[in-house]
Structure formats: C-alpha cells, structure tokens
C-alpha cells in the first residue's frame, strides 16, 4: 500500500466519520420531533428554524460541560470505557456498504471503507465488543446504580446476541455468502430475504432494539429505578460518547437489517439499484426504532431475560430449520 491509496482511505474515513456524526445529530432532532408529534407536542422548536439548529446547541453544551469524575472511580478504566464504546461502534460501520460502487468520471468510489469477503462476520464480531465499554464504564464508576446498570446491560446484550446470530445465520443460508454485497446481489436475483424469512426478520428487529439498549428494552438505563444506569456518573463529552455509540450502533443495525432482509440497495417492484433505496430503508427502520420506543412501556427485567431465552432463541432455531427446508425444497431457484 503506497502513500496515495493510504491518503485515499484516510480521506474516505474522515468523510464517513463526519457523515455518521451529522447523521447522529440530525437523527436526534428527528427522534425528538417524532416523539413530540406522537405525544401531541412540538418537540424542539426554539433553536433555529423549526428547531433545526438544536444539535449544534447540544454539541456545544456537551463539549463545554464540566467533566466530573467520582473520586472513588477507577481513573483509567473510567476514561477509556466511553472512548472504547464509541470506537467499537465506529469500527463496526467500516465494512457496511451503503450502495454499489459509484463511477464518477472513470474514478471508482466504493461506498464502504473496506469490503472483505467476511464482512458480516466482522460486523458481528466488532459490534459484540460494545458490551465491554458499557460493562467497564459501569464498573469503574464506583456507583451502585452504574454497576447494576452495566450488569443488566451485559446480561441482556449477550442474551439477545444469541437470537440475533440465529436470525443472521438464516439470512446467510439464503444468501450463501458472508459478503454483504453478495448477499444483496443474491436478493436481486430472487426476492428480498424477508419474504421467506419473515420470522428471522422479526427476530432481528426485536434483537436490534435490545442490542442497542433502546426502549422497551432499555433496562440498562431504566430511569425509574437506576437513575441513568451505566452512565449515571458520566457527564459532558464522555456521556455524549455513550449516546453517540448507541445511535451509531442503531445505524449499523438498521443498515444490516436493510442489507440482509430488505434487499439492500435494490429498488422495490424491479426498480434499479441506488444508494437512496438503502438510505430510505434505513430511515424507515430507524423510524421503527422510534415508533417502538414511544409505543411500548419498558418490560420487567425477568420477563426480558425469559423472552430472550425461552421465546426468541427456540424460534430462532426452528426458523433455521424452516429456512433449510425452504432451500432444500427448491424455494430459492
């Protein structure tokens, strides 16, 4: 690798990070707006026209806030944990392709940082490291609320990761590859994977809500009982890191859901492939996240674990059998 291509990757990396950060900022506005309208109020309207400058104000506030740290906290781990969470969330996005490579004047612009043949495995492996940042952050804070929140988060995330893995495997069976572009290509040959694999898709949606610790599965930060869960003692930019990581994980999982089950960048009704299709599907998926959040009350912790282990895991196994029957029966050719 020479300096030229190194610089090229670096430029694309910086662009992607900036894109992810602005997407995070404006998704926050969208979320607050949507929740506002669901609850018959306006959401943010004060900063800028229609509240559109709200993320700038929030970012400025977060950066200027005092970086408080409990005296009893484990200094090194306390500082590393939020950075680790954010770093892992960003790294998982590296192999997500946002569309087919663009040709701009004979110049090939791939829409992912890298496209290894085991991309899907890489996303899952890196995304599951996210639990470290959360559990370490809660432990290092030396606060009982934070410790309980991080314990809950770890137990919940590992439990739902299992069912998530089962749903992903069923999509891999239909695609016959671990490379995300090839999974999309396979779906353009046949039909979108969620049609035979609707159970897998539903499991994937439920688990993606649980994996990102979003309501109604936000037991890790249940404000009614644990104040703020694992980030109780965090403030300022370190707190913002946890929030950013949560939202970037949502982007990763929504992109993964769209790529695996919803045909990726293929258009519906035989319309041609485009980046915009994938972005539309991601936006709808993210809207679903918000919709679920405003609709369902938080479930009890024992119910959460039982639902994961006694409902989602066996359905995931049986769905795998159904998909293999479907493939053996020639349903895919």
């Amino acid at each position: 690798m020479n300096g030229m291509s190194l610089g090229y990757v670096l430029v694309r990396s910086v662009i992607l990070i900036v894109l992810l950060m602005s997407a995070f900022a404006y998704f926050m506005v969208m979320e607050r707006k949507v929740i506002g309208y669901f609850q018959l109020r306006w959401g943010p309207v004060r900063v800028g026209p229609w509240g559109l400058l709200q993320p700038l104000a929030d970012a400025l506030k977060m950066l200027a806030k005092e970086d408080a740290q409990p005296l009893a906290a484990d200094g090194l781990v306390f500082h590393v944990a939020p950075a680790l969470t954010l770093f892992v969330a960003l790294a998982a996005f590296a192999v997500i392709p946002l569309g087919p490579a663009l040709h701009i004047g004979g110049f090939l612009l791939p829409l992912s940082i890298a496209n290894p043949s085991t991309g899907l495995l890489f996303v899952l492996a890196v995304a599951s490291l996210g639990v470290y940042g959360i559990s370490l952050g809660g432990w290092a804070s030396q606060s009982k609320y934070a410790l309980l929140g991080s314990l809950r988060a770890s137990a919940q995330m590992v439990s739902y990761e299992l069912a998530l893995g089962m749903a992903v495997i069923s999509a891999v069976v239909l695609g016959g590859s671990l490379s995300l572009p090839r999974l999309v290509a396979q779906q353009s040959l046949h039909t979108w994977a969620f049609i035979p694999d609707i159970l897998g898709f539903v499991i994937f949606v439920i688990c993606s809500v649980a994996e990102t610790n979003r309501a109604p599965f936000d037991l890790a930060e249940a404000e009614g009982e644990l104040v703020a869960g694992f980030h109780t003692e965090y403030s300022g930019f370190r707190f913002a890191s946890f929030v950013m990581a949560e939202y970037i994980n949502m982007f990763t999982l929504s992109a993964l859901g769209a790529l695996l089950f919803l045909g990726g960048w293929n258009g519906p009704f035989g319309l041609g492939p485009s980046v915009w299709w994938l972005l539309t599907k991601m936006a709808l998926y993210l809207f679903l996240f918000i919709w679920i959040r405003v609709t369902f009350p938080r479930i009890r912790y024992d119910r959460l674990m039982q639902f994961g282990w006694k409902v989602l895991v066996p359905i995931g196994f049986l769905n795998l059998i159904w998909i293999s029957v479907f493939v053996v029966g020639g349903g895919w050719r």
């Binding site: 690798m1 990757v9 670096l10 694309r12 990396s13 910086v14 990070i17 950066l63 200027a64 806030k65 005092e66 408080a68 409990p70 005296l71 950075a83 954010l86 770093f87 960003l90 590296a94 890298a114 290894p116 495995l121 432990w139 030396q142 606060s143 009982k144 609320y145 410790l147 314990l151 770890s154 137990a155 590992v158 439990s159 990761e161 299992l162 893995g165 495997i169 069923s170 069976v173 016959g176 590859s177 671990l178 104040v227 003692e233 930019f237 370190r238 890191s241 024992d302 674990m305 039982q306 282990w309 006694k310 895991v313 066996p314 196994f317 795998l320 059998i321 293999s324 053996v328 895919w332």
Partner: protein, 118 residues
Amino acid sequence: MEKYLDIVIFTVAGALFPLLTVVGTAIIRRRYPDPVKQGAYESGEIPFGDARVRFHISYYIFALAFLVFDVESIFLYPWAVVYLHLSRGLAFGEILVFVAILLAGWLYAWKKKVLTWM
C-alpha cells in the same frame, strides 16, 4: 489483507476522533471540584460503602449459558455459507442433528432452571 488494513486505518481515525475532541475542547471546559459532586450519586442520600458489592449469581449463569450457545452457533456459519451450494439431503440431515443437539442442551438448561430469573 489490504482490505483489513483499510479497516485499521478507519478504526485509527475513529479512535482519534473522541481523543482529539476531549483534548481539543479542554480549554473551554471548567473544573470546579467539590466533595459532594465527586461522590457517588445515590439519589441525593449520603452514599454508604462503595460499589464493590456482591451481585446476583444469575448474571454469571446467564454468561455461562451464553458462552455455550454462542460457541455452538459459531459452527453454524460455515454450514450456512455453503448450504445453498450443497442444498441436498446430507447437509440438511446434518443441520437437523445439530439443531436437535442444541435444542436438547437448551431444554436441559431450562429444566435446570438456568433460564429462569430468580
């Protein structure tokens, strides 16, 4: 291998982002240390003891159960990749046996009340 090098470059850039932001904005941040502020937050009460407390054994058991099933599900990935290209009786029979063993383990865990939150 080059593809993975690209990922490394991206992750380094991703790691630098939180680092530079924290360091770069240190000028506009003030620090007013205060013993109350630097204590653990316990809903406004005076905190007692530290957080190195015993916690529920269930978390540990769930972690063990997860480990077992996660390692087993790793074996499913190679099968899933080639299944479409084999797609005949033998591979199907193998997955039936494998999932049956998984389900047996899962039922055993249920019977032993591992999956029940106590």
